[in-house]
């Protein structure tokens, strides 16, 4: 009776993450989805960054979340739950990629100077692109294409850091590389994406779009 009164006073949506983890560990399996719900998109996109295939990424994301459920007792409370979850997703996706493409060499060595000195291309000014631009599917597709063309070590870091908003340290932890490598790869990824996108976003793709009475919003 007391327990049900407590449950009513604290519906699942209002429980803190720490409390949710405690309850799931104590056997309340139904609360697990509530715990992972804020991160399900991030888990999927981490898997997609590695596998680059929607069906494979969904399967890997589901499997990673199930693994997290089965091994919730191994989660250390001093760690961040989201980082732990994404780490499992990265491992699951990497394992599947190795299985599907055993011939593809995976960069294992952590080389801090791998980016070398990258010289950004000299384009004319690229003005601020309004986020409304992303309402256009073709623009999202162009961005996705550019991202897919990056080397894997750059894509992984960029997705975790700039799309999933992990900190430098969390990204390093999830990928098992140093923070110096995260910074170097992130720099290279951002500059390469800028070089890939500037010619289109600075002109042709955007000028084909109509904003109201033929005027640009900036």
């Amino acid at each position: 009776m007391l327990e049900s009164a407590t449950s009513l006073a604290h519906p699942a949506g209002q429980l803190s993450e720490v409390e949710l983890i405690r309850r799931v560990r104590d056997g309340d399996a139904d609360l697990f989805y509530e715990l992972v719900r804020p991160y399900e998109r991030r888990v999927y996109s981490a898997a997609f960054a590695i596998l680059r295939n929607k069906a494979d990424a969904e399967d890997a994301a589901q499997e990673a979340i199930l693994k997290a459920f089965r091994h919730i007792r191994q989660f250390r409370e001093e760690a961040r739950f989201s980082t732990w979850l994404i780490q499992i997703a990265v491992n699951e996706a990497r394992m599947r990629r190795r299985k599907n493409h055993p011939d593809v060499m995976e960069p294992i060595a952590d080389r801090p100077d791998e980016a070398g000195n990258y010289t950004p291309r000299d384009f004319a000014d690229w003005r601020e692109i309004p986020s409304e631009t992303l309402e256009r599917k073709e623009i999202r597709e162009k961005l996705a294409e550019a991202l897919a063309s990056l080397g894997e070590i750059y894509r992984e870091v960029f997705v975790l850091r700039d799309m999933q908003h992990l900190s430098i340290e969390e990204t390093a932890e999830a990928l098992k590389i140093s923070t110096a490598s995260v910074k170097t790869r992130l720099l290279r990824a951002r500059l390469m994406l800028r070089d890939l996108l500037a010619p289109g976003l600075g002109g042709p793709w955007i000028s084909r779009m109509s904003f109201g009475k033929g005027t640009k919003p900036w």
């Binding site: 994301a61 199930l66 989201s82 996108l197």
Partner: protein, 180 residues
């Protein structure tokens, strides 16, 4: 301190993340101000972080949440027939999605979003920060005070300030203590 183009390119990413010290930032600001090419590199890189940092760039397949909940339910209760549970979960997801929509449609004011906070003065204007629609404060990635992790977007700090967000007292503390 004086920096050249190569040094600016090498540090541009750290500059956007607020990972350069005040001296280097000032030198980079001065260089970028007078260098057309480096201004374009900064603007382009900032656009990249802003566009990809938008939640619309993470597209999950239709029905992803439902299928995940069904699979979790099957694993949590292997012997239970899952249809009823799935229907409940689907209804819950619709309710949750609906409440997000209501929350998101409540409008974004230009006035300060928090009556208790002070507008930031020492925050580097070009630093990329994270905000979410119903939040009052802006943050750096990984800040434990970020409450809504599903609707984060990256914007330049000056843009966040313009939209009425104030600096987080935890992750932006070092800037708030400065007299700028």
């Amino acid at each position: 301190m004086v920096v050249n183009c190569e040094e600016v390119w090498r540090e541009i990413s750290n500059y956007l993340d607020g990972e350069v010290d005040a001296g280097l930032r000032a030198a980079m600001d001065e260089h970028i101000h007078g260098c057309k090419r480096c201004s374009a590199v900064l603007a382009g890189t900032r656009n990249v972080v802003g566009l990809y940092g938008d939640e619309r760039m993470v597209e999950v397949p239709l029905g992803f949440s439902h299928r995940l909940q069904r699979r979790l339910n099957e694993n949590a209760h292997p012997s239970r027939r899952t249809f009823f549970g799935w229907m409940v979960a689907a209804a819950a997801a619709v309710l949750v999605a609906g409440s997000f929509e209501v929350a998101r449609s409540s409008g974004i004011g230009r006035a300060l979003r928090s009556a208790h906070a002070q507008p930031g003065k020492g925050v580097p204007p070009d630093m990329m920060v994270l905000v979410y629609p119903d939040g009052k404060t802006f943050h750096v990635a990984g800040c434990t005070y970020i409450l809504d992790k599903t609707h984060l977007r990256s914007v330049a700090a000056h843009e966040a300030l313009r939209e009425g967000y104030v600096p987080c007292t935890r992750c932006m503390k070092k800037y708030l203590n400065q007299r700028a």
